[in-house]
């Protein structure tokens, strides 16, 4: 661990401490925005852990998230809440492994297509089960407060950042960077590329399921069309790419402005949210291919070049 590592860790800890104080401000509105931001930070950062190095666009977030909410919905009366989060994480990881095993051995397109419909698939199956058993939705009535949810999400975010940092330093992270740069080279230097990708895909799967489990009490009433809303997957992709998926902290830079923008648009023009999402996708592809982070990097390079000129 170098000096900059320690400095970054201390700075992150201070930032985390400040974030943790938000519920004490007493403003319900800002707390609710804080929960949304924390949720998308967790989802987008874990998404970028997989999609950043591999360049595979995963659209399965909503599926894992929905599975997580259902774990809480079905089990909160019999099991303690913390264990449900763990169970959701395990189920999410197993589901991700299955999806990964079926598709990641092949080209990336199959993976995108498969994840695109995964939420809809799980939703159809659960709806079918519910129709058979005659129940409609689930009530999740717990005594967990909004502040409690916020703190749990914040701890999960910390865990995700630490995981990402550790993966970046591990053999797996190194292998993935090579795969992302050139898969042929990776395979020739003895990396099991399919296995590495499947292992890594289990991280966002598990994290998204845990996020769903934590957020279920906030919804109070859950039903398939709510828990598996496909919009969530797209929002996560947008936010992560807007910030920049190449860096660990990149998605965070996209999450905060996009959440605020989304909140103001969906409260003022509820009909236009789809249009906004589309325009955001187009802006990213044409104007910000590497996200805000890429923009910052360019700026930094330019100023540095100018300073070097000034010295010479």
């Amino acid at each position: 661990m170098t000096g900059t590592d320690i400095r970054n860790l201390i700075l992150s800890a201070i930032a985390l401490g400040i974030c943790a104080l938000l519920p004490l401000s007493g403003s319900g509105y800002w707390l609710s925005i804080g929960v949304t931001i924390a949720m998308f930070t967790v989802l987008a950062t874990s998404w970028a852990l997989f999609s950043g190095p591999t360049h595979y666009i995963s659209l399965a977030t909503a599926a894992f998230f929905g599975v997580g909410t259902y774990v809480t919905g079905l089990g909160f009366e019999t099991l303690p809440f913390w264990s449900l989060i763990g169970i959701a994480g395990v189920i999410g990881a197993v589901l991700a492994a299955l999806v990964g095993l079926a598709t990641l051995r092949l080209s990336g397109v199959y993976f995108v297509i498969f994840t695109l419909g995964l939420a809809e698939l799980v939703r159809q199956v659960i709806t079918w089960f519910q129709n058979k058993s005659g129940q409609k939705g689930l009530y999740v009535l717990t005594d967990i407060s909004e502040a409690g949810i916020y703190w749990m999400l914040l701890s999960l975010a910390t865990a995700v950042f630490l995981t990402g940092w550790l993966i970046g330093r591990s053999r797996l992270g190194f292998a993935l960077r090579i795969i992302g740069d050139d898969e042929t080279v990776a395979v020739h230097s003895g990396i099991n590329s399919a296995l590495s990708k499947v292992l890594l895909f289990m991280v966002p799967g598990s994290v998204a399921a845990m996020t769903g489990a934590i957020l279920a009490p906030r919804y109070v009433y859950i039903e398939p069309s709510l828990a598996f809303a496909p919009m969530l997957s797209f929002q996560v992709v947008i936010m992560a790419l807007l910030g920049g998926a190449g860096r660990l902290w990149g998605p965070l830079v996209g999450v905060i402005p996009f959440t605020l923008l989304w909140e103001s648009i969906s409260s003022n023009f509820p009909q236009q949210t789809t249009l906004l999402l589309g325009v955001a996708f187009l802006i990213i592809v044409y104007a910000l291919p590497r996200g805000f982070v890429g923009l910052l990097d360019d700026l930094r390079h330019r100023t540095r070049a100018r300073m070097a000129e000034g010295v010479a």
Binding site: T103, G117, Q124, L241, Q272, G278, F281
Partner: protein, 288 residues
């Protein structure tokens, strides 16, 4: 027997839609995720022409086809060609085109929502019973199927027996070598993209005669078309048709024997089986 024929009738229209996507993906190399929205737009056009002017959907398609051809050609030239030029590798183009066409699909859904609202729309056209081998079917399904067969057949003949078709197949097989033998790849890719879009929109107009659509159902059709293309093998017309009929039959089987809400699950089961056992597609050759 009843299920088999209903499935075949559905599969015929699916084949048309998947052919459209296959032209766009196999030749123009653009994974067009706005394909389903083009379909819904075609359906909307047919609906609007019928309710406003009592114009038969089977006449509308003659107007719709050139219009959507030009529209898709422009989309390729203006939106997608810069991406093709920018891309350093096939993988990067795939990621970029997926994101761009996603954006396009959301913009289209947003526009259709604000023009038509979020309601389901359907109309009653040729809803008369017709008897085939002892069972009754709706005439509009049969008519849509026949139209799809005619269009698919024409496309098949054109691709296999014309010079332009030969060039297009050459691009689908080996885009880099096609350039070496003097084929104008950029020009033909735009043509194929436009043609694919037009075929999809016509398919949407045909579907709308017997299915209920709404502004946000496009993605389901995109998904089905993608699954069909992969099942049949990318760039393979024959495989696409077989896969589409297969999907139509399996879906109808599941819908009538299990639950109509499980059609996507049925499609996915087929998809997984293909991925596990024949990733190169039903008729595709093994990559060497």
């Amino acid at each position: 027997m009843d299920i088999l024929i209903t499935g075949l009738l559905l599969g015929g229209t699916y084949a048309l839609i998947a052919m459209g996507l296959n032209l766009q993906y196999g030749v123009a190399r653009i994974m067009n995720l706005a394909n389903g929205e083009m379909l819904v737009a075609g359906g909307f056009a047919a609906f609007w022409m019928y309710t406003a002017g009592q114009i038969s959907p089977f006449l509308t398609i003659f107007l719709l086809a050139p219009l959507t051809f030009v529209l898709n050609w422009l989309i390729y030239r203006i939106m997608l060609q810069p991406l093709v030029k920018r891309a350093k590798s096939r993988g990067q183009l795939e990621t970029d085109s997926i994101l761009a066409t996603f954006g396009l699909s959301f913009v289209m859904v947003g526009l259709m929502l604000s023009v038509f609202g979020g309601d389901y729309f359907n109309y009653s056209y040729l809803a008369r019973p017709i008897v085939i081998v002892g069972d009754t079917f709706a005439l509009n399904r049969v008519a849509a199927f026949l139209a799809a067969v005619v269009i698919c057949g024409a496309l098949y003949l054109w691709l296999n027996h014309s010079r332009a078709g030969l060039s297009i197949r050459a691009i689908a097989v080996a885009p880099d070598s096609a350039r070496l033998v003097g084929i104008n790849v950029t020009h033909l890719a735009a043509l194929a993209f436009g043609l694919g879009g037009a075929v999809t929109a016509v398919g949407g107009a045909l579907l709308s005669t017997y299915l209920t659509l709404d502004a946000s159902t496009g993605v389901i059709f995109t998904l089905k078309a993608l699954i069909i293309v992969i099942m049949g093998g990318v760039g393979d017309v024959r495989g696409t048709i077989i896969a589409a009929l297969l999907l139509g039959i399996v879906e109808t089987l599941v819908a009538s024997l299990l639950d109509p809400g499980l059609t996507l699950a049925a499609a996915y089961t087929l998809f997984i089986l293909i991925l596990l056992f024949r990733p190169q597609g039903l008729c595709g050759k093994k990559p060497t």
